[in-house]
Structures are given as C-alpha cells and as structure tokens.
Symmetry: C2
Subunit: 198 residues, 2 copies
C-alpha cells in the first residue's frame, strides 16, 4: 500500500507479529487504535513503555515482575514449604487465578528437549535443587503440561529430588463440568485408573 | 491476580480492548511482548507513539494520513475525474490493495442510520456533493458494503448526485475462485440477474 503513511504501515507490521493477530486483524486493530486515540492508543503506548522499562525476571523463581525478587517470592503471606514447578509464566498466572495454591513457584521457561538442545541447566533445575535445600521446602508440586515433553521433564525433576523431598504432581482426570462423550480416550483412561472410593 | 505487578496488569487490560483479542489472548500477547522486549515491545511502543502524534483525517476525503491532505488526494498520479465512495478507511485500504482503482476516495465513516441518528451531514455527504461540483468529477463509484444499511446509503447518495454526474456501483456476482455450492442464494440470484453474454 504505497499511499499509506509509513508510520501506520510500520505499526501494522509490528502488530501482525503478536500471537493471535494476522495481517488482516492487525489492520483492523490499528484502525481501531487510531479512532480511539485518547482512550486506547496513547495509554497503550505508555503502558508498553512502562512494562518495557520495568519488567524483569525474578532472580529466585523466574516469574516476571518489576523487582529483583518478585511479589510472590517476597510476600510473607506465601508458604515457604511448598514449591510449584511450572513451565511458563502463563501457567503460573493460571495457577494464581485458581487461588488455591498459597506457596511459591519455580518457572522453568520450557521443557527438556534433546531436539532443541535444552538441558537441565537451561531450565534452572540445579537452582530448583538448591532452593529445596535452602528454603526448608517439604513438598514440590509438579504442575507441568500433560504433554510428552512436560511429563519427561517432570520425571527428570522427580528423580533429582525424590531423595530429599516429597514430590507430587497435579491429578489427571475428568475436568470439572466435563462431559465424558467429549473427552479423549487418554483422559478417560487416566481418570479410571485414578478412581477414588466415595 | 493480586501478585502481578500493576504495570503488567494495566497492559493486559488495555490489550484486551483490541478487536480480536480477549483476556486470555491479551495475557498471551503481553507475555510474548515481554519475552521479545527489544524486538517487539519497545518498537511497538514507539510505533504507537508515532502514530498517536501524527495520524489525522484528510480534510478532503476523510482518509487517515499524516498530513492535512492525504497522500492519495495530493498525488498527481491519481485521476481527479473519479471518486470512489467507501464506508470506512479499512474499505479504502482493501480497494488500494487490489491496485485497480487509480482515482480518489471519499470516506463516509459509516452508513445512514435512523436508529443511531446518523444523517447525511455526519457522513460528509454534502462535502461529497461539493467535491463533485468543484473537482471536475465525471464518475462517482459507490463501493459500499452489500448490507441493508450500505445499500440504503448508496441509494441516498445516488439520488443526490444523479443529476450532476454518472453514478455507478461495484458489480455483484460470484467471487473469483468462488464455488456455487458454497454461495448464498442472494449472491447466486444477483449473479444470474446480472449475467453477461460471452
């Protein structure tokens, strides 16, 4: 589009790189932003700038925060005896939304992968072992995704820690509100194996 | 999420207001932005700031540009004899991508609507009539959406102009590459009525 101003073209091109947006939805979003300049475009530019300046990884757990040690690691209200291991900050946020876990986290930032040459050091697993030793941890809860890579990583971590501490993982089974007819065979089979007496 | 820093919460909340993004995809997008700070987050903040400062409506046609008169209206390469009337800047961009039309535009910014109290003045229709008088226009092409509101608006504009100038509208018919089996009845019926001899 040779006659579109280059500032607008540049913004569309960058917006199209966001996950979930393609070229068409990026154009729509940019027009929407221009129409709502005072309410959305300018505040969004400022908010991005603020996050760009302040966001950093927690030195202790790998969570994203604005301080050297994140709000969860430094909160006195969080139990120090439990560490929940997650793959990604998005998973940490999902756990937090459920408001059930009141311990601390360890964010791996991925899973072990021979193909991508990602080893235990890349995921901070030695640091996790250190934390278990020094923070008085009594239980490590593995909340990794139920994928092959996630489960491989979970087994590796369990092997490293099982001599020192209780290692658990999230239960597998029927999701709350789930209908059997819509579940995959693997989930039904896992739920049946893990059946409980009422 | 009480333990997420407020800068990040604020950014997620604003991102979720973009068309095509909801709360979940806004969270994903923000994590992606933080991970790609140098490549995406900072450039995007700058690009938004640049557009926020420079974007403005063309005084002549209503297109979005960075100058008082947009690049299309001020280009000497564009034919002055033809004006293409579109509802929205997104439609203007769609026309430009097809690279067939080499005249100028008139962006209405919506359609006539008794329900929303949008009248001819709100859409700049008197200005369009003025332009037809003063710019030596020989043809006005109505490229409005094939919706009820779009067609009502097209008929109104045609009535205002048909004494002064040739008024045409985009042809309706089978889309290029379209399969009859997947077309709605209205399109097939329009294509049949407008059939051409080979």
């Amino acid at each position: 589009m040779s006659d579109t101003p280059r500032e607008i073209d540049a913004l569309i091109e960058l917006m199209a790189k966001l996950p979930g947006l393609g070229p068409r939805s990026a154009r729509r979003a940019v027009l929407h932003l221009i129409k709502k300049r005072a309410l959305l475009l300018n505040p969004l530019a400022d908010a991005m700038h603020a996050v760009g300046v302040s966001a950093r990884e927690c030195l202790n757990c790998g969570n994203i925060g604005t301080t050297e040690i994140c709000g969860i690691c430094s909160s006195e209200k969080r139990a120090t005896g439990e560490i929940c291991v997650v793959e990604d900050v998005a998973d940490l946020w999902a756990m937090e939304r459920s408001q059930v876990f009141r311990g601390r986290y360890h964010v791996l930032g991925g899973t072990l992968s021979a193909l991508d040459a990602i080893g235990p050091d890349d995921l901070g697993i030695p640091r996790l072992v250190d934390r278990v030793k020094t923070e008085g941890v009594t239980e490590v809860i593995l909340a990794l995704n139920a994928t092959i890579d996630g489960q491989t990583t979970a087994h590796y971590i369990a092997e490293q820690l099982e001599q020192r501490v209780r290692v658990t993982s999230l239960a597998q089974g029927v999701p709350v509100g789930g209908e059997l007819d819509y579940l995959d065979d693997g989930t039904i089979s896992a739920a049946l194996k893990a059946r409980k007496s009422l």
